[in-house]
Amino acid sequence: LSACGSNSLGGSGNSAAPSTKVSVNADLAAKLPAKIKSAGEIVVGTDATYAPNEFLDTDGKTVIGMDVDLFDAVAAKFGVKVEWQPSKFDPIIVGVEGGKFDMGVSSFTINDKRKQQVNMVSYFSAGTEWATQAGNPKKVDPNNACGLKVAVQSKTVQEEEDLPVRQAKCGKNKINILPFSGQDQATSAVVSGRADAMLADSPVVSYAVKQSGGKLEAVGEIYDAAPYGYVIKKDQTEFANAIVEALKELDAEGSYKAALSKWGLENGAISDFAVNP
């Protein structure tokens, strides 16, 4: 059906085999929930519109990205494969609870609200970073964003927690928040000047700056460094703990760092993997 057409439009760091060979740990494999064990694969919900963490490869099917490489390695420790299922972002956590997905891996920043809902295993530290048009023509200062038009992907931590705090300090001179359903639209809004600035997870911002071909620049420091977490059902704490173990082993073997550096994100590496930190 798809014999015609090309696959020429590259993103970055196109698919390559995981950088290190990962060995299966039988002890961990034993701790897999029964459903995964019998299926031999983990069904993972992911919103594949969040480059470079998770996005579609040029074949339009394969989900690739830092999250994918890292968690594929984790799954390999358990001796199972990962079935990456593209989803909208909002229903992933509910989908994990409802059994639609076994897990959620989609750059979820760990926060209290999410921890109440599900188990979260920390695996990466991302901060929030701001970006604006190259040369910062609007003199954007993240610490004084009142009155600015700020683009953000909707339902992210930035929209739901970061901006409301800033908004509260602004009084009458409100931040004009533009929540887009995809990060690409938010980025485009800044490139086009529709928004004065955007804020997103630091990996995303640095990827956007790189992809924009000199149209964007990052402003300010990375702040609010907080861990990303894998989303696991509340009643699967044993499995969550096993994942922590797997991460630790990967770190020890060096394949953890390798997965991150493939995407230029080794800055976000952590070592204190934990359940619900």
Binding site: P91, K149, F180, D184, S188, G193
Partner: protein
């Protein structure tokens, strides 16, 4: 004599068959279908009531949230109203252009209609929300066209624009919602208005002109009122469709809108089923109200056209006999 006659009558009455009281044919297949459907309905009801995921109290709470109500009033109802106004006005203009004898006007109207009827609204709104600022980086200017070329030729500098609108303001938020959906609706209304105008008998136009009316007068006082009969019913449908299509504004995005607001609550509370359900209930209610309004309008616009509302009952009965054979 009388006795004999009576006796004869009695006899005849007995012999003459009276009212028919026959055993009807049993339609087993039909009743089986009813039984199956009834069970399915019971299961649905059972699910709606007892499945905890529906959480009806929470649904009501969501429906009662200020931003949800606000989104309903502004982003859904007000936008529907404004886009329909824009759509009807634009549609009539496009229809008149389409029926013009001037080929330029005619083709422009055709091309506009073709374009906006061919591109899905969600694609249109996504592009408006994300790309308009990129396409018009200097905004949209009212002034002398191609001024930069002219100024260049004349060896001058500066510009000849007296009003520049920021494309980002123009095509985003509430304004963008109304402009985008309105522009799209105009294309659909154009076809409807055209059909309406063409449906009026040519003789009406001629009779009006024969008594000395101008073309404009006969259009406004004679043709359009009659065209209304044809235009109003599909316009009602368009309004209902537009009300539902305001849910697409999530792609623009317009945040002060029903579907966006319930999604926000869903993602905040992780109660997505009851949150979406709140929107569904609102849509059901509003559509139902609009449908009633539409049937009223349809009746209102039949005025003076005699008993065009023929009883569909006889027809329906035949249809039913036909449809449910065996």
């Amino acid at each position: 004599m009388t006795e004999k006659v009576e006796a004869e009558q009695a006899l005849q009455q007995e012999e003459r068959p009276g009212r028919i009281d026959a055993v009807p044919v049993r339609h087993y297949g039909r009743w089986l279908a009813v039984a199956v459907i009834t069970v399915l309905l019971l299961m649905l009801l059972n699910m709606l009531i007892f499945n905890p995921v529906f959480n009806w109290p929470f649904v009501l709470e969501v429906m009662n949230q200020a931003p949800v109500i606000d989104g309903l009033l502004k982003g859904t109802l007000l936008v529907t109203l404004l886009t329909m106004v824009l759509g009807v006005v634009g549609g009539v203009i496009l229809a008149v252009m389409r029926l013009s004898e001037n080929p330029v006007l005619r083709s422009v109207s055709w091309a506009y209609t073709w374009f906006f009827r061919s591109v899905p609204r969600i694609v249109l709104l996504t592009i408006m929300g994300a790309a308009m600022g990129l396409i018009f980086p200097q905004g949209i200017a009212l002034g002398v066209p191609f001024d930069w070329k002219l100024i260049d030729w004349l060896g001058l500098s500066g510009d000849w624009r007296f009003l520049t609108l920021d494309a980002n303001t123009l095509f985003s938020g509430f304004m963008g919602a109304v402009l985008g959906l309105g522009a799209s609706e105009a294309a659909y209304m154009a076809e409807i208005a055209r059909a309406g105008i063409l449906s009026v008998d040519v003789g009406q136009q001629e009779a009006a002109q024969a008594v000395g009316m101008s073309r404009r007068q006969s259009m406004i006082r004679i043709v359009l009122p009659q065209a209304m009969r044809v235009i109003v019913p599909p316009t009602g449908n368009e309004t209902i469709a537009m009300m539902k299509d305001t849910s697409l504004l999530i792609a623009l995005p317009l945040t002060a809108e029903l579907f966006y607001q319930v999604s926000a609550i869903g993602s905040r509370t992780y109660q997505i089923v009851p949150s979406y359900l709140a929107a569904v209930v609102y849509y059901l209610v509003i559509t139902s109200i609009l449908m009633v309004g539409q049937s009223y309008l349809e009746r209102r616009f039949g005025r003076g056209f005699g008993t065009t509302v023929k009883s569909d009952k006889a027809k329906a009965e035949i249809g039913l006999q036909a449809g449910l054979a065996k």
